[in-house]
């Protein structure tokens, strides 16, 4: 006759045993298996012993000592401010300051629209001029480089230009693939990876 593998009680079965919600199959097994019965009874004894362990109290006036240490460790500024400005007051004061600041800024803007507009125009013009100057300087620097003329001659032929662009694109694609490979997390756990 074929002998089936014995399914001893699992951890979940043990929990079910203690809460009297053991499945029929597990109950049948328990009735037949001496080993599991001993384990379940011993587990029951362990849980009973754990449940009777006393809770320990710290030395008397523990709360007083905690509050005293709390006050000693409080930063000097907050200790000075704490009685007069509790935490919620500080938040209200901050909110009021922000609202007042925002209101004042809106009022000032409305009263000085012309001045503000002239400042914006001036800033925009200056920024544009600076950017254009930067572009011109960069272009002049580039065209005055010793390698610029040979490069321009080389790229003047459409075939060679296409070759250079194609080479650059291939190089870019290879670099992109390599970067992606480097940044992809491993699909399998790495030993000691959490250390």
């Amino acid at each position: 006759m074929k002998k089936w593998p014995v399914n001893h009680l699992t951890a979940d079965d043990l929990d079910a045993f203690h809460s009297a919600s053991l499945s029929d199959a597990a109950r049948d097994h328990l009735a037949e298996c001496e080993e599991c019965r001993t384990m379940a009874e011993l587990d029951r004894a362990v849980l009973a012993a754990l449940a009777t362990l006393p809770s320990y109290a710290p030395a008397p006036h523990f709360a007083d000592r905690v509050v005293a240490r709390l006050q000693r460790h409080a930063p000097a500024l907050s200790r000075v401010l704490a009685p007069r400005f509790p935490a919620s007051w500080n938040r209200r004061a901050l909110a009021a300051t922000l609202v007042l600041g925002l209101g004042a800024s809106i009022v000032w803007t409305l009263l000085n629209r012309t001045l503000l507009l002239s400042w914006i125009n001036l800033a925009a013009a200056e920024t544009g001029r600076t950017i254009w100057l930067g572009v011109r300087v960069a272009a002049t620097n580039l065209t005055s480089q010793p390698w610029y003329a040979p490069l321009r001659d080389f790229a003047s032929s459409p075939g060679r230009l296409a070759l250079v662009i194609g080479g650059c694109l291939v190089l870019y694609a290879v670099a992109l693939a390599a970067m992606r490979r480097l940044l992809t997390p491993p699909s399998r756990p790495v030993p000691h990876g959490n250390w």
Binding site: A49, L50, S55, A63, A82
Partner: protein
């Protein structure tokens, strides 16, 4: 000293926290009063030294009370307190390498004085309650067996079967997956069964 106001005693943890956030010292004391025994018991059973447990418990409550602004009321206050207490105890054990201690003292101890100094302090002078438990055979055996468990198993078994916390809450406290918590608890129970088997016989 008089006890906390009756309305504080009846208030929920969240309500007491709200009052404590305004700097109300009575609310501070009430929060400490509610959790001093469970926190102290957990830490004491983790570090097995009364003075140290008291220091770590004080540190725990100071951290809790200083960080009340960052407490999110949608989580159980007790979970948050136990998390901070457990971190304090585990940090201490890691710092001092006490997790490798046995009842017979540190394996690194070379002299009888060092062995005595590093042995687990069961039944130490002044630990009347603990001595009382040690004197009872099963209670003493199980305290010793708990002391021999790995720190993470110890925390799990204490939170589950001494403090009566749910598996899910323990997972939240210890920041571990639920399955890991269940495994730790069942391995710990297995070790306790082995340790207590001779008593049953």
């Amino acid at each position: 000293m008089s006890g906390p106001a009756p309305d504080l005693r009846a208030a929920t943890d969240q309500e007491v926290v709200l009052r404590a956030r305004t700097g109300d010292q009575a609310a501070y004391r009430e929060l400490v009063r509610r959790y001093e025994r469970p926190v102290f018991s957990l830490v004491f059973r983790m570090v097995r030294n009364r003075e140290l447990a008291e220091d770590l418990s004080q540190e725990t409550f100071i951290k809790v009370l200083n960080a009340l602004e960052s407490y999110r009321p949608e989580f159980k206050f007790s979970s948050w307190v136990f998390k901070i207490a457990n971190n304090a105890a585990i940090d201490h054990l890691r710092r001092r390498e006490l997790d490798t201690l046995s009842l017979e003292g540190s394996p690194h101890a070379e002299t009888p004085q060092m062995i005595e100094a590093t042995a687990l302090q069961i039944g130490e002078r002044g630990e009347t309650a603990l001595e009382e438990v040690e004197n009872r055979e099963l209670g003493g055996e199980i305290e010793r067996a708990i002391a021999r468990l790995r720190p993470e198993y110890r925390t799990c078994i204490l939170l589950r079967h001494v403090e009566g916390r749910a598996y899910e809450e323990i997972a939240e406290i210890l920041n571990l997956p639920l399955g890991t918590v269940k495994t730790y608890i069942h391995r710990a129970r297995n070790e306790l069964r082995v340790a207590l088997a001779h008593l049953k016989q």
